[in-house]
Subunit: 263 residues, 3 copies
């Protein structure tokens, strides 16, 4: 458990308020922006090829999420990714639905080269698809057991140099050598759309203020788990879960974080 470091990381996000540039999907843009604001970061959404390089130039990190990708957006993702590599700011990739269609899998493979992600976060199926394993994704909420994918995550981390995060009932974080698991959160999180995308964006905020990407991803996922299980205690269903989760992100104190326990 890294609750103390997580509290410190959250504090750093709140005090530095990093500008996180998101090129993300239509479904979750509102959640993503609200989650980033709730933890004290400054979100910006911009996808036009005419401005992504300019926006990356003032951003502290770049988050790319392919959840509702299409041709023009892919072009912009490539340009933004390359610019972020040149500027050497953290780059986070969320391969939503990789494995579900060839377009998604192929786009991710191209992005691995152009944006050289610092962190990749997906569910087990998506990470396995990226790692080249033969898996079939059922939509974007895989029920494949996360544990089956840890080997794929480690291989993907070694092949790409990225920290790889698998989120699920248990979260796994690996840089190809180190491996941490997190047993926090609540099953209700999987019934709210965009919780994974939110996790990716929160990693983007932490990676902007915590120098080691492995540590940043671990802290961000710990925060998600802490906020998730606290929210679940108050929730009457998936609607109030979504709202209580934002309330937690925006009000969590160091003491709140330290008082939580994993499963």
């Amino acid at each position: 458990m890294n609750l103390e470091n997580t509290a410190r990381g959250l504090n750093a996000v709140r005090s530095k308020s990093p500008l996180v540039h998101n090129i993300t999907n239509y479904v979750v843009m509102n959640n993503t922006a609200n989650a980033l604001l709730a933890i004290g970061a400054s979100p910006v959404m911009a996808h036009a090829i005419d401005e992504v390089a300019d926006m990356v130039a003032i951003a502290s990190s770049l988050v790319i999420n392919i959840g509702t990708l299409s041709g023009h957006w892919i072009d912009s993702m490539q340009v933004a990714g390359k610019t972020a590599v040149e500027r050497d700011i953290p780059r986070i990739l969320d391969p939503v639905g990789a494995g579900a269609t060839p377009l998604r899998t192929e786009t991710c493979k191209t992005l691995l080269k152009s944006m050289k992600p610092t962190v990749i976060r997906g569910n087990a199926s998506e990470i396995m698809a990226l790692a080249g394993s033969a898996v079939t994704t059922k939509g974007v909420d895989s029920s494949a057991e996360s544990t089956r994918a840890v080997d794929a995550a480690r291989q993907l981390a070694q092949a790409t140099g990225a920290v790889v995060v698998i989120s699920g009932a248990i979260d796994y974080i690996t840089d190809g050598e180190r491996l941490k698991e997190i047993k926090l959160g609540s099953p209700l999180m999987a019934q709210v759309t965009g919780m994974g995308c939110t996790a990716t964006a929160v990693i983007g905020a932490f990676a902007a203020v915590v120098s080691d990407p492995f540590e940043a991803a671990w802290q961000a996922m710990t925060l998600m788990g802490v906020a998730g299980q606290r929210a679940a205690r108050q929730a009457r269903g998936t609607g109030t879960m979504q709202i209580a989760f934002l309330d937690e992100l925006s009000t969590l104190t160091a003491e709140d974080i330290l008082s939580e326990k994993g499963a």
Copy 2:
């Protein structure tokens, strides 16, 4: 009242978790995904012409909603619709704003041919516009009395072979011969954006697991009404209405459903 069948249908959605492919509008994507997750279905949003056929190929039903349509999206809707016809999976059309602009009315007419909808759900004005009646739509929330449109719905059903649903203070479901009406729900539902779009998506989930489209649409609209009137009892305004509605969808038991009464 078909409360028992509705409870059975909801149970089937929860146990089979059908993958519902949505090509829908920007305003409601988040609501739609959350509503589908809340009832136990698996939502996926995908609109790129390069992947819609691949996504339809693994989906259990297709929902097309023209709420924020534009050229590229219309092309993708046509491809997705044709693929869904070939695969013979249920196809649901939401003609948002039909009658308000020529683009919307004409797009719907083209979609009627290419996607051969299994179910069409709209408000009274939209259904009348599709049926060729001369009506003027005021935005997307028509106040035209639903009853005036029942004849149009029946004609549209006979002409297209689709089950046609008019939602409003009273909902009507017809396949051109059978006609059911539902007096459930709450006036607060009309003050929350995307409730109609949510209904269309929920029909998509039910149509994937209930073989008779008329019965599927009837059950889905009954579920909307039950969840809506239960949510309205807890709501302090339109904000909590939206949240309580998701809470209801995600927690409703068969007993809860059977305990509700219509107006």
Copy 3:
């Protein structure tokens, strides 16, 4: 304080239910639609170049927001703006992120000419960027003190003929001669995405029913402040803030409004 006029304006929105045509950003479309429905207006979102002129033709006001702009959208904004000028309906511009990238600043300058805005609402940095001041915007939530921008707002109003609104801890409304300030609201509003965009849309609704744009903007911003500070009293964090705000908009009575006091 103009609480009585604000109550009267809200009443006019509720009774006339103006159709507000929004060409706005992906992040806030849902909030915007819900806020407009909550105050009794009729929102419609439409951005296709093939239909914007037709939609403007039936709208009572036009709201253009560049938060997630791109080439095709800019083209549609120009067409919609020109049509709205021809029809002489109120035109509201939200220059989200003006100053952050050349694309945003340049697009706003072009829109100033084509749509001849009736009202412009932004934060201090955005207004200063439009007025030609040399400022650097940090993302879309500027922390520049609003007071520094009042001169820029007055100049922008004089140069364009628009009423200019700066929103922030203190809101300022000027038509180049008159100047009002509003000390209502809550700091929590800045932590919820899209509150500024909502304000712009609410101005669009008021401008459709209150003939003096200065008075319309003043009333709309007063309503935002009243609803915001009432919501903040109930909020447990930024999630419940967002929901309570909609509850307030949808249930506020004249008595509620008159009972509020500014800072």
